[in-house]
Amino acid sequence: MIKNKKRLMFFKMISLSLLRRRSRMIVALLAIVVGATVLAGLVTIYYDVPRQMSESMRSYGANMIFTPDGTDSLTDEMIERALSYIPARDLDGYTPYRYENTTINKNPVTFAGVDFDGVKKTAPYWNVDGAYPTRDGEVLIGANVAKTFNLGVGDKTVAVSSIEITEDVDESLIPDYEIIEIDGVKSADHELPIKVVGIIQTGSSEEDYVYLSYSDVEYLTAKHRGYDLVEVSVNSTGGLESYTTSISNGVEGLRAKLIKHVAASESAVLTKLTSLIFIVTAVVLLLTMICVATTMTAVIAERRKEIGLRKALGASNLSVVGEFLGEGLLLGGVGGILGSVLGYVFAEIVSKNVFGGSITFLWWLIPVTIIASVAVTGIACLIPIRSAVDVDPALVLKGE
């Protein structure tokens, strides 16, 4: 009963003290909230930014390729098996390419069969004047091809492929073409009317190709065949090498390679950025914590007189320390809670503005923030209280 009463009195004293000295306590609380906000905000950013940056690095496009190893081409089944080695959430996209030589106006051009949805992921840097093809017969052409053949968006032409009739030709695809036989070699000129819907500018070799759908390439060449190359875009903060080795060993006839200049630079920039944010977080946190501590110290130090009065009334050192500490810890707790909310809000604002996405909520950061602010406040209170209780009450009250 007595114990209960004592406890009640303790809380009453703390809360009344906080209420009565409102303005000063607001000052102290503000300091703690700022500290906790910086802690929660920066740590959230530190944990989430490498992931988000890695995603925006994907604007460089593919960082891994699959090529046939000892086989003629890659089948869908092989590609699927290889991709199963990469966790689904890290796989940003992939595009198989099938290259074929054909002609336009009797001039040789390389045609590439692609999946245009995949290309948007693995080659986001393509600058397409016009639109991506949506139906059969529509093609994208490289800027160099456009200049050479004087083709613009909306123009129509005919691609001609000279097919040598061998066993792997699917003759159902060339039902009514004239088959010419010279020296025992049978061949046919197979035509595909194409419509240019877009022109690609990239500043590199893509400008020399014509891109069209797989079914068009199949029709043009009258051959069922796999793919020559697969471009893969993988989100990663490291560990790309291990994927390539396990894929090359695990899937027979397929070889995975890193596009070194993309992969190497990505990891270099990511490492730098991560360590930059880490050290900035550490420095800012350290300084902010010291700031919080000095403010708390100042707030407590001015109450020496009160401490003296309590002691003169017969309070033990321990109870004085306990009471002031209780006050500080309460403030620390409240500040920590407010700070973790504000910190999350800050991190979310950063994430929205910089990366246009949401930030991952780190639930464990809430207790960490609260504990850290309670600890910092506690330590900051303890120092001035200790020196205050050691003083003779008479001296303090006299104002010396």
Binding site: R24, V27, L30, A31, V34, G35, T37, V38, G41, L42, M53, S56, M57, S59, Y60, A123, Y125, N127, N144, K147, T148, Q201, G203, S204, S205, E207, D208, K257, I259, K260, H261, V262, A264, S265, A268, V269, K272, L273, S275, L276, I277, I279, V280, V283, V284, L287, T288, I290, C291, V292, T294, T295, A298, A301, E302, F346, I349, N353, V354, F355
Partner: protein
């Protein structure tokens, strides 16, 4: 008297004053370090991004149209003269050009099969003389192909003592070629084109793209093999650039039609498009274009990093501003008794406010100056641990921080001073 009172405060309350100075110093150091890092991070990340390789490709004007579609095309106007390469060093943004190298491709026979070879500079000492001034630069693909992994042997380096005197009969072989032909460093191979050259394999590299199928030769060797003396096909340029914005894209499309002030601004900013434009001015027979994959992504990443650092800086600035004004408020408030006494013996409000402000600002000045140097230290620690290079200290930051600290200290003292002016001496002295 005024100064004696101030002196008195510093002597009797040195602990409190020290506390304020310390907090101001900490706040200043955060502001200084963060602002400096923020302003410099663009340059630093930009340099880091250069490992992605060249971002500008220069070819002959007619080659841009003919392209590699006709590999049989022998017209010389599809090529550039080798000696125009030095013109790159004469453009307005020459200092932003980090590395460049010319290339000349050709098909030769190796053991009876076709083999693609590329002639280039590995580590070349270029000296170029124009209008009486000398331009000198060490450049080549040893920097541009930073990502090449040397599987066997070493990188060829025409500047190295051993190779300097040994002529140009050396080669770097792509991994796939080496595998197919079973080559390793030290082997000699015979290449047959317009001439026949016996070259020694210096190293085998792995690049992960189609360069693995190519043999790289010194430019002069490739020129003899292809019979194209003093000619090159393209120049790869790696330049530090600023991210493009809407205006720059508009001007870049049609520089002649842009408003003069827009043109001026565009020309004098290191946009990839303006550097391309200047290269074409310097080499009239050339066509320079941005390699979009590199140029676009670089701009994107740079913008994001800078924005990120700006937001973090804003947070830490707000944090340190609040911490300083907080402490100033609380330290002025606790002196109500002393100030009440002054009022009681007849001091005017203005004089008291002046006294308190002078004291606080003096302390803040001491704190800010020491804080600036601490912040300088922190910025350099960040620069060296993260980028291995020092952070440029900008004079603007010192000015900005000074204004900021002054304002924050002043604002922090305002509520406290207002409080003091409202004090009734009798109440204060009575201890309420």
């Amino acid at each position: 008297m005024f100064f004696r009172m101030i002196k008195g405060t510093f002597i009797h309350q040195w602990k409190k004053m020290l506390m304020i100075a310390l907090t101001v110093a900490l706040g200043t150091s955060i502001a200084t370090a963060m602002l400096n890092v923020m302003l410099d991070v663009g340059d630093k990340i930009n340099a880091e991004l250069k490992t992605y390789g060249a971002n500008i490709n220069v070819v002959s004007k007619s080659a841009a149209i003919v392209s590699s579609l006709y590999e049989t095309d022998e017209a010389t106007d599809a090529y550039l003269q080798e000696n125009v390469t030095g013109e790159l060093l004469t453009i307005f943004w020459a200092n932003n050009i980090l590395d460049f190298a010319p290339f000349l491709d050709g098909q030769v026979k190796l053991d009876g099969t076709d083999q693609k070879v590329t002639g280039t500079w590995f580590h070349y000492h270029l000296s170029f003389r124009k209008k009486g001034s000398d331009y000198i630069r060490d450049t080549g693909i040893n920097n541009l192909r930073d990502w090449w992994e040397i599987v066997d042997g070493e990188r060829y380096d025409e500047q190295a003592d051993f190779y300097k005197d040994a002529g140009d009969l050396f080669a770097m072989v792509g991994e796939n070629v080496a595998e197919k032909k079973n080559l390793k460093a030290g082997d000699e191979i015979t290449l047959t084109g317009k001439t026949t050259e016996v070259v020694k394999v210096v190293g085998v590299f792995s690049s992960g793209d189609n360069e693995d199928d190519v043999i790289y030769l010194p430019l002069s060797t490739a020129q003899r093999l292809t019979g194209k003396a003093d000619l090159i096909q393209s120049i790869s340029v790696s330049a530090l650039t600023s991210p493009e914005d809407e205006t720059s894209q508009k001007v870049a499309k049609n520089p002649e039609l842009a408003r003069p002030e827009d043109y001026e601004l565009w020309y004098c900013t290191a946009y990839v498009s303006s550097i391309c434009h200047q290269i074409q001015e310097a080499i009239p027979t050339s066509s320079a274009s941005a390699i979009r994959r590199v140029a676009d992504s670089e701009g994107d990443i740079l913008n994001k990093t800078e924005l990120l650092m700006t937001l973090i800086t804003v947070l830490s600035l707000i944090g340190s501003a609040l911490a300083i004004s907080n402490l100033v408020t609380s330290s002025v408030m606790e002196r109500s008794q002393e100030l009440g006494l002054m009022k009681a013996i007849g001091a005017k409000n203005v004089r008291i406010a002046g006294l308190v402000l002078t004291e606080i600002l003096l302390v803040a000045l001491v704190g800010a100056v020491s804080g600036y140097f601490i912040g300088f230290g922190f910025a350099q620690i960040i620069g060296h641990t993260v980028f291995g290079a020092s952070i440029d200290m900008k004079g603007m930051v010192a000015f900005l921080v000074a204004v900021l600290i002054f304002a924050v200290t002043l604002i922090g003292s305002l509520p406290a001073i207002r409080n003091i002016l409202r004090l009734r001496p009798s109440e204060v002295l009575h201890g309420r």
